[in-house]
């Protein structure tokens, strides 16, 4: 202290940070998506095992620990004075406590979906609808997986018609770039429409797993 006062306003102009969330089920390609387009950095967070975790990824070797350190997907894209931060939301149920923290002040979210396990992205879709955070659904087209019409995915997920649904390849930088552009365009439309195009008011009807059946 006692140094020259920091010119806060000028410094703030140096960096205008934005935050975009990348959500979706475990193993859907969030890490791939974040790392293909951004400068990725290790960000650790503490996880408390308050519940027994079953039915999720392998916990062999960490059983009995009260807390463990987990890595979050975290990437930064610097564009002049703008800095776009991508945060992968943890895919497992036991990380729900982090979602409010991550989504606070976020510009919007990309829900990454895998057509083989479409139900995995229900929690994310429900969450962003409730939070009224603009989001799009990007279907990660894995090699060998059938190519679906995004419209079928929209129907299967029971999405509002204004929510963009696109196909992408999370391994391709140009594809991921287009996903982010689609999201920001959607945020812009949502903002200029005075929020009309955001999620419908009130909680949506609960998604039924059966609704996710894609046409064979």
């Amino acid at each position: 202290m006692g140094s020259a006062p920091f010119d806060a306003a000028a410094a703030a102009g140096l960096l205008t940070p934005f935050k975009i969330l990348v959500a979706g089920g475990f193993g859907v390609g969030k890490t791939t998506l974040v790392s293909v387009i951004s400068e990725i950095r290790p960000l650790r967070t503490e996880e408390a095992f308050t519940r027994v975790s079953t039915g999720v990824d392998d916990l062999t070797g960490v059983r009995g620990k009260a807390t463990t350190t987990v890595a979050m997907d975290f990437g930064r894209i610097t564009m002049g004075r703008l800095a776009l931060y991508l945060f992968g939301t943890p895919g497992q149920d036991r990380f729900w406590f982090m979602w409010d923290d991550l989504s606070y002040g976020a510009l919007g979210a990309v829900v990454l979906a895998d057509t083989r396990r479409l139900t995995d992205c229900f929690p994310a879709v429900d969450y962003f609808e409730r939070r009224q955070l603009p989001f799009i659904v990007a279907v990660n087209v894995f090699d060998g997986s059938r190519h679906y019409d995004p419209e079928d995915v929209r129907i299967a997920l029971d999405l509002e018609p204004q929510i963009p649904t696109v196909l992408c390849d999370a391994r391709q930088r140009s594809s991921v770039k287009q996903v982010l552009i689609t999201l920001v365009e959607h945020v812009l439309v949502s903002a200029t429409a005075g929020g009309d195009s955001r999620a419908s008011d009130g909680p949506s009807a609960a998604r039924r797993p059966g609704a996710a059946d894609l046409p064979a």
């Binding site: 960000l43 350190t69 564009m79």
Partner: protein, 126 residues
């Protein structure tokens, strides 16, 4: 990054339990939880004298990392300490007047169309 996005054993970081560095505190002072992309900056130069009262080595390290404005997430990534610990330590420094949170140009959730167009232009030119 390890498979399953998890660090265990040595990769998990120091053997010291992370919250030992905060004296066991898990909530920041003043109930202010810093946003991940809040921009923080040191109010004074580094290095801070080692005999400064109320400052741990980690506090001093954070002051060093905040000589240029940086987001909380970037600072946490630089320390290899868990985010929760960094937030507690930064809150201490904010309370002591050693670190300040810079005002944001706009809350991202209320970003103006002009700012959004700027983001779009930036993405398109990637």
């Amino acid at each position: 990054m390890p498979p399953h996005g998890r660090w265990v054993d040595r990769e998990a970081g120091p053997v010291v339990r992370p919250y030992a560095l905060t004296g066991g505190r898990t909530d920041p002072v003043g109930d202010t939880v810093l946003d991940l992309i809040a921009v923080v900056a040191a109010c004074g130069p580094a290095p801070v004298p080692t005999d400064s009262p109320g400052l741990s080595p980690e506090h001093r390290k954070l002051i060093g990392l905040c000589q240029l404005p940086a987001t909380v997430a970037d600072v946490a990534a630089d320390t290899a300490l868990p985010l929760g610990v960094v937030r507690v330590l930064l809150a201490d420094l904010i309370q002591q007047g050693r670190i300040t949170v810079l005002p944001r140009r706009a809350a991202a959730s209320q970003a103006s169309p002009d700012l959004l167009k700027e983001v779009l232009d930036g993405l398109r030119s990637l």
